[in-house]
Symmetry: C2
Subunit: 245 residues, 2 copies
Amino acid sequence: MKTKLKPDADLSAQIAKAIRDAIVSGELIVDARLPSEAELSETFGVSRPTVREALKRLAAQSLIRTQRGATGGAFVNRLRFDEAYGDQITTSTLLLSMNDVDFETACEARFALERACAPLSAKRRTADHLAAMRAEIHRQQQPGLSDEGFCASDVAFHRTLVDGAENPVLSYHLAGAVEGMQPLMNMITFSARDRARIIALHVALTDALEAQNPVGVEAQLDALCQETLRLGRDVRAARTRNTAP
Amino acid sequence: MKTKLKPDADLSAQIAKAIRDAIVSGELIVDARLPSEAELSETFGVSRPTVREALKRLAAQSLIRTQRGATGGAFVNRLRFDEAYGDQITTSTLLLSMNDVDFETACEARFALERACAPLSAKRRTADHLAAMRAEIHRQQQPGLSDEGFCASDVAFHRTLVDGAENPVLSYHLAGAVEGMQPLMNMITFSARDRARIIALHVALTDALEAQNPVGVEAQLDALCQETLRLGRDVRAARTRNTAP
DNA sequence: AGACATTTAAATGTATGACAATTCTTTTCA
DNA sequence: TGAAAAGAATTGTCATACATTTAAATGTCT
């Protein structure tokens, strides 16, 4: 492992970077055990708390895991797709909320990315995917469903569509785009008429997917995008009316 | 800030989670100052080193920044798109390398996502984008260029295509997909004939983009995908020949 | 009064040492 | 032989102290 450090930063950050580089470069492979905290503090010439701060930084990025006990220590962690979803979604959500991203911009990105999955999903969707999507549609038809519940079901519906492509890389990248938009979507009030429109599009989309008709899937996605943008405009219009009458 | 902690985890992880939740939920807004480390250790009933480990975890995710001095402390950080690129790329790269993702799967995901940008880029690309892409094409034509250099230029070319959509959300998500594949691409040896083919496709793609012809852009992307898959198959075939003759 | 130097205070950064908790290994004893 | 007990290695946590940085308060001189 490299012991060359970049100056002008916290020691713990420098040490974390050195170890991270060793992992990314492949110098430390999956499940390799790092030296003990005591050895690392010797190697880098710092105290144990400083080493620990560095290790916590890496643990926060799921690059290492730690085990106590005699045969314990810090081990290079195998980063798995399903584990990476959470961070990806959190980061996407924060990026949208902290940078005042237009609803239109986020919406455009989301549906553009979803469209990318349409041909693959149309080819590979299984009966399970179709059943899961129809189950969500059924849930969306419940009269007592709250707006948040409707939104959550919508997200689940679309994530199943994405998973239909049977490509974990695609699912990973789309998770952030789809779930990250949920807070923005939650600002929308879905009238009964709005819901009916969306559900009709969901049904048409699922039918096209069942028929393995990629063009049809893309068409319904485009229609959903337009519908969602319209709802977003309505919310903004209502807010403008209220704040500047 | 919530002081309710989830058991069965390191204290520093629990505290980091509590603060992270407060940030994600909006309870702590951008640029808000967290209590000092001494106050936090009082609040959570733990020692200062433990609090510091928690803060380092958050700093590793760019959720907070710290400042020394009298008016210093830990502040909620505004997560910016360009800062988030780095982590996104690192994570994507590790996901591919640590999970033995097929070249085909990664390639499929990458070009599917890039296709999603085609219509928007065709609509919005500026002269600057076109110039940058043609500059990369010129670089790719240099005879002395190494395979790594060719690859890096290829990545730059495609990222410019993505940026042409003028949608930061899209650029963010695509950065991981495109750059994360670079290590896989670096395993390919590009013969002079391969390069000529790819460059021809790049030229055709850029021409279609200049003509604002989305269908043309998508067609060239599909061709590039096929070409890349072919090169990947060649590498695998060569390796199979060598390891099991 | 104003400008400049000094002190002070608050905060993070780092070090030291100790002890607790956990887990595997080794030894001991029935 | 087998099970219990001791031992050793390692991470988790704590308490305390000191170093460093930064801004504000204070003082001093012109």
